[in-house]
Each structure stands twice: as C-alpha cells, then as structure tokens.
Amino acid sequence: MYIDRSIALELKIAPMPFDIERGRLRFFAETVGLTDPIYFDVDAARKAGHRDLVVPPTFLSNSLELSLPDPFSWLAELGVDLSKKTHAEQSFVYHNLAYANDSVVFHRRIIDVYTKKGGELEFVVKHTDVKRGDETLIECRFVSVIRHPEALQ
C-alpha cells in the first residue's frame, strides 16, 4: 500500500519541545569523538566567543524524536509498514548556532511523497523547523525510504 500524498501533506504532527542540556552535549561530543573543547568545556566555549557549549551540527536532528514513545506513529498513521522503512537521506540548513541551555521546539511536517524505480521505492520527506522562540535556527530534512518488493512482481 502506498501513502496517499494529499493526506500526508495535511498530516498534523505535534510540535516537540526539547531542552538542550550541557551534560547531554558532553555525552554526544565524547561519543562521536569531537575534540574541540567548545563542545564540552564551557570556559573554552566562552573564550572562543560563544555564550555556552556549542550544539554540534547534527545533534538537533530527527534522532531526538526517536526516544519518544511510538516515534514513527506519524508514518504508521499513513499506513506505512514500519519494518520496510530505512533512513535514506538527511539534510540541514543552518541559520544560527544553538547553545547549551537553549530550549527549542521541533515543528514537523511532511512536505513530499514520491516513488522511484517503478514504485519499488517510496520516499517520504519530513521537514522540521527547529525554533528558539520565533527564530528558526535549523531547517532539517529527513527522507525515509519504504521498500515495496510487491511492485517487482
């Protein structure tokens, strides 16, 4: 079964608030091997002209949504078999840096649904505006691919 594009584009996904904690940023920096102290040492970040620890380029992403209960309910609501989906693409457009102790809100919506390879692959594009108050800090795009092996038969 394929997604009904017009329903997908109208789908309301609840905004997700997220408080950026210093400890979480230090944990992330250590796990991915960031060695620049602006990512884990507040004094070093301030000396470099930042007001707090800098949030690394890929931290504010869709991954943060995945610790919510039932994180792919927005896809399931569209009738997608969640065992057939994979992460195909990810992109970020940066407007301003985020810092530790910022509170942000993820505003999410589906902006496109399309198929390739004669329907074997179906793509869903979710766009997220990561906002601090009224200011958009990052625009984030998550592209999921859903396999449809039945299209080959």
Binding site: F27, F28, V32, P56, A88, E89, F92, L97
Partner: protein, 141 residues
Amino acid sequence: MHQKLVKGTVLPSLQVDKITRTQLALFAGASGDHQPTHLDIDAARAKGYDDVFAHGMLSMAFLGRLLTKSFPQESIRSFHARFLARVPLHSHPLCSGRVTDVESGLARLELLMTLEDGTAVVRGEALIDTLALPPDFAVHS
C-alpha cells in the same frame, strides 16, 4: 601544509575508530535514536539483518566532525548526506572531503565515507560561507 580554500582543496581525512557494539549503545543514548536494530541482535535478525549496524546519523556525525575539524561551525551553511549502504559492526570507516566549487563566497564540498574495501557508504555535500571564515583561515593538510 597550509592551503587556501579553492576548487580542488582536499580536507584532511578522518579515520574513525572501529564501529563497536558499545559505541552504538552509547550513540543511541547520546543521539536519542533508540531503534533496536542498532542495539539488539535479536531485533536486527527479526528484521532480516545478520547483526546490528551503525546508525546513519552516527556516520553523519563523523562527517560533521570532519567539517568542524577544518571549519568554524558558524561558517557551515548547509550539510546533506545520502546513506548508500549499511555501515557494519567492526568496520573502520574513513571520511574525506574536497572542494568542488567556490562561487559567490560559498565553497561547495563533496564529502564521502568509505569502508576499508572502498565501498562508499555515505555521500554528502556541504556549503561553507567563506565570508564567515577568519582572515588567516587555511586548510591544514
């Protein structure tokens, strides 16, 4: 060697540590991506995989590390990644990047993550605002 940012400039590559189960568990906690196919061999097998495999966003975090090693983060305007193949456990990925174009103050970078056998697992692109770079900026390679 120091080099200015021009078409063809190669970034210093980044050899990341071998992918281990421990790292995937830690990244699940740090990133928020708790999907069991990255953590639990039973869940991975139930989905038809031999074993757990790395999160796409872990690969993208490594490419991000490659970028912030060379550029101040505030100069990164955009960053895109396409996940071409799974990154298996115990693989030893290499991240690389080069400038393909500099136009209107924006440098376009082509990014790549490969496995030891040369398989391209992630292809990426980033735009760097050269006007946001310090006057003495140079790529160290």
